[in-house]
C-alpha cells in the first residue's frame, strides 16, 4: 500500500452532520456544541460512512447504554480512525480490554490512583504549578497552554512514573502523533508507539538491576490473580496508556477551564471570592468542557435508543456530547458553577471509568487554585489566537493570555 505523503490528509468538508459527520472537521474542532445539538435533536444515534463506517450516540441515555454494553460493543479499538488495521499484541490493557480480561488488568492499576494515594502527590503538584507560574508571571502575558496547562500533567506523570521531567517534550510529541496525526496517518502512529515501547523497555531494564519505588517498579512487581507476574509487553502497554491518557486529557481540561474563566469574568471573580466552591466548580467545568471522546467497535447487531446498530462499524463514544444533553442537565449549554446535581460522564461510564480520574481532579483543582491565587485577573490576548486540538481529546493548544 502506498504511503500518503501528507501527514494530515484532508477529509472533504462536512455539509451534512446527520449522515456524514466527521470529528476531525475544522468546524467541529472550533466549536462542536451547536453540531452536537443539531445531531441530538435529530436522532439519538447518527451514522457516517467515513472512517469505514461509524455511529455516534448523541444523548446521555444512548452513550450510557453503549458504555454499559460490553456484549455488543468491544473496546479492542478505542480510536475512530481512517484505517482499521489488524489487532496486534501492542494493546494497552485495560483500556483496550473487554471482560473477562479487563477486570484483573484494571485492578492492577487502581490502588496507586485512589483519592488517598493521589493526595500524597498534592504538595509536589502545588510546587510544580508555582515553579511554572514563576517563569512567566512578570511578563504580564503568556501562552497558558504552552507554558502552564501542558506542563502540569507532564511533570506530574513523570514524577509518578519515576522518569525525568525533562523528557516531557518527547511525551508530547508521541501523544500528538497517536491521538491527532494517528487518526489519518497509520505510520506516524506506529512509529510513536514503537518509540514509546523502546523508551519504556529501557526504563524496565534499568529497574531489573536497580529497583525503584515508582509506578514502573510497582507494575513490574504486580501479580495477576493467578500469581503470575506481568509480561514486559503488558507493563509497557500499561505505561503507554498512562502516559497517553494522563497528559493530553488533563492538559485539555485545565486549559479549557482557564479559557472559560478568561472569557467569563463573572465566574472568575466568583471563584476568586469563594475558593471553597472550587471542587464543585471543577465538576461543572468537567461537564461543560469534557475533553475525552472514546470509541467502541460494534461486535453484534443490537438496538440503541430505538436505532439499529450493525457490526462492522465503529462507535464514536462522545462523553462530551452526553454531558451537553438538556434532558439530563438543565441549562446544559450554560456553565453553572454551583450545579447541585451533576452525574456528568467526563471520566466515562461503566467498567472503563478513567483510572486516573482522582488524579485528574486533583491536578485540575490545584492548577486552577494556584493560578487564581497568583493571577486573579486575566483575559485572552486580543492579538493572539486560541486554537483547539483535533479529534479525540479536545482542549486549547494555544491560549494567549494577558494579566
Amino acid at each position: 500500500m502506498s504511503e500518503d505523503a501528507s501527514p494530515l490528509p484532508q477529509h472533504p468538508p462536512v455539509t451534512d452532520w446527520i449522515n456524514d459527520f466527521d470529528h476531525t472537521d475544522p468546524k467541529w474542532t472550533a466549536n462542536p456544541f451547536p453540531i452536537w445539538d443539531e445531531m441530538r435533536s435529530t436522532s439519538p444515534v447518527v451514522h457516517t460512512n467515513r472512517f469505514l463506517g461509524c455511529y455516534m450516540p448523541t444523548t446521555y441515555e444512548a452513550v450510557r447504554a453503549i458504555a454499559n454494553d460490553t456484549e455488543h460493543f468491544s473496546s479492542r479499538r478505542v480510536l475512530v480512525r481512517d484505517e482499521r488495521p489488524e489487532i496486534k499484541n501492542n494493546a494497552a490493557p485495560p483500556i483496550t480490554s473487554d471482560p473477562p480480561v479487563h477486570k484483573p488488568a484494571k485492578q492492577l492499576l487502581l490502588p496507586p490512583f485512589t483519592p488517598a494515594a493521589v493526595a500524597k502527590l498534592e504538595p509536589r503538584m502545588r510546587a510544580i504549578c508555582n515553579e511554572l507560574i514563576d517563569e512567566f508571571i512578570n511578563d504580564g502575558r503568556c501562552d497558558a497552554a504552552a507554558r502552564y496547562t501542558k506542563h502540569v500533567p507532564v511533570r506530574t506523570i513523570a514524577h509518578m512514573l519515576g522518569i525525568p521531567e525533562k523528557d516531557g517534550d518527547l511525551f508530547i510529541k508521541w501523544i500528538h502523533a497517536i491521538l491527532e496525526l494517528g487518526i489519518k496517518n497509520e505510520s506516524a502512529l506506529l512509529q510513536a508507539v514503537e518509540e514509546m515501547t523502546d523508551y519504556f523497555s529501557a526504563e524496565i531494564e534499568k529497574r531489573k538491576t536497580k529497583p525503584t519505588d515508582d509506578l514502573i517498579s510497582y507494575l513490574m512487581n504486580a501479580k495477576l490473580p493467578n500469581g503470575a507476574p506481568l509480561e514486559d509487553s503488558h507493563v509497557t502497554g500499561s505505561l503507554r496508556l498512562l502516559l497517553i491518557a494522563g497528559i493530553d486529557t488533563t492538559w485539555s481540561a485545565i486549559g479549557a477551564s482557564l479559557w472559560h474563566l478568561a472569557t467569563t469574568p463573572d465566574d472568575c471573580r466568583r471563584l476568586v471570592a469563594e475558593p471553597s466552591l472550587l471542587p464543585i466548580a471543577i465538576e461543572e467545568l468537567l461537564r461543560a468542557y469534557s475533553p475525552v471522546t472514546m470509541a467502541r467497535e460494534v461486535m453484534k447487531e443490537t438496538v440503541v435508543s430505538g436505532c439499529p446498530v450493525k457490526p462492522g462499524n465503529m462507535v464514536l463514544l462522545s462523553f462530551p456530547t452526553a454531558n451537553r444533553d438538556p434532558a439530563v442537565f438543565p441549562d446544559a449549554d450554560k456553565v453553572v458553577l454551583d450545579r447541585k446535581e451533576n452525574r456528568h460522564a467526563a471520566f466515562g461510564l461503566g467498567i472503563h471509568r478513567c483510572v486516573g480520574s482522582n488524579l485528574a481532579r486533583m491536578e485540575m483543582t490545584v492548577a486552577i487554585e494556584e493560578w487564581l491565587k497568583r493571577i486573579p485577573e486575566f483575559r485572552l490576548d486580543p492579538d493572539g489566537e486560541v486554537t483547539w486540538s483535533q479529534g479525540t481529546v479536545r482542549g486549547p493548544r494555544q491560549l494567549p493570555m494577558l494579566f
Binding site: L110, T114, P115, P279, E341, R343, A345, G350, R353, S357
Partner: protein
Amino acid sequence: MPQLKIHVDPVKCQGHARCKALAPELFELDAYGNAHESGEGVVPPGLEDKAYLARANCPEFAIEVTEE
C-alpha cells in the same frame, strides 16, 4: 425527618468517588477506590441532605437511599 439508610450497589459502583467527596461521613472507599456505605448505612440526623446529594451525583446510579 424519617430515618434514612443508604446502600451502594457494588456491581454498579465504578469508583468515581463522587459520594466520598460530597459526603465523606457516609461513605468509605476500598483499596481499589470503590465505594461502600459507612457501617450499616444508617444516615445520622443532620446528614440527610448529603445522602441525597451523593445519590444525585453518582454517574452510575449506584446509590440507594431508603426511608426506614
